[in-house]
């Protein structure tokens, strides 16, 4: 079980809800992923509020916890206000905090992120910060009151997978007792498996499932890969070696020459 703030969850796959071919496929993907947490967002509603209402009902029917995000916010002020509005709608103190610094890379503005995290934790939010793998920023986020960290492994939606495994290993080693969720950049189940083998607690992804040819099947593939990676980490995998090491014992080997 994984504890995120005061909530225990079994599933280590957090699933985004965007870009699915249909609401039915989204629901099937959540079911086959066995996800207990999905991310959601807020956007301007056209008069009548019908589109938002339909999605609100769909999420309610999924029977999962929601983690609202502040996607698209480029300033502390925007992110804080969006978080407050999300709490009003979804009635949760959880917030996936994004303060975006670049339009093209969607890299977090880590300075604004720390400021926004401090404001929001002060107002009772339980902040899940989308951050880089920078250790000092992570320490500042913990000082600001965050009890979960969500480093990227590559830019959002890039599907590149862990581009800097050494940094992810250092991050895990530096924060052994903090729940760590890799958020963003995962493209394939093998990527999720890799970060779980490194000891991460969970993976948050969206496009890798929603953009697959068969999203529901891919959701299940991710769930299996994450579980396998988790088990492998617990089993303590071998470290790579520079030279060959025979797996068959040589003692007692016959000598024919």
């Amino acid at each position: 079980m994984l504890k995120l703030y005061d909530t225990w969850v079994e599933s280590r796959l957090l699933l985004g809800t965007a870009r699915y071919p249909s609401p039915a496929i989204l629901a099937e993907a959540v079911r086959r992923a066995k996800a207990e947490i999905v991310t959601v967002s807020l956007r301007r509603e056209t008069a009548g509020g019908k589109a938002g209402g339909a999605f609100f009902d769909l999420v309610g029917d999924l029977g999962v916890r929601v983690l609202p995000n502040t996607a698209g916010c480029h300033s502390v002020r925007e992110a804080v206000l969006t978080a407050k509005m999300a709490r009003e709608v979804f009635r949760t103190d959880w917030i996936k905090l994004e303060v975006i610094g670049h339009h093209d890379t969607l890299q977090p503005d880590v300075f604004g992120l720390v400021d926004a995290a401090r404001i929001l934790t002060g107002e009772g939010f339980q902040v899940f910060p989308y951050t880089t793998d920078d250790l000092v920023v992570a320490e500042k986020l913990l000082e600001a009151g965050c009890k979960v960290l969500m480093p990227w492994c590559a830019p959002i939606g890039s599907a590149m997978g862990p581009v800097n495994p050494a940094a992810l290993k250092a991050f895990r080693a530096h924060f052994p007792d903090v729940p760590l969720i890799v958020d963003a950049g995962v493209g394939r189940p093998s990527h999720a498996n890799t970060v779980m083998e490194l000891g991460y607690d969970a993976v948050l992804l969206n496009t890798a499932v929603a953009g697959a040819g068969d999203p529901a099947t891919m959701a299940e593939a991710f769930a299996l890969a994450i579980e396998a990676g988790r088990l492998a980490h617990k089993a303590v995998p071998l470290e790579p070696r520079d030279m060959a090491v025979p797996s068959t014992p040589v003692i007692g080997k016959a000598v024919f020459a």
Binding site: R19, S41, E45, G52, F55, M85
Partner: protein
Amino acid sequence: MTLIVNGEEQEIAAATLADLLSALDYEGEWLATAVNGELVHREDRAAFTLGESDRIEILSPMQGG
């Protein structure tokens, strides 16, 4: 009165935020509102008086990653 609703300037007769939502046919417990960059809770909308050129944001749930 001129109001800026979700970024669009509109001429609307609405004394309060609740009146505005009603006039524009916004309805639902899933809506969140802000005026001039500050959250206005749903229970405060009926008492929240609007002024000329106020900027109103009306948000609702959407898919997100």
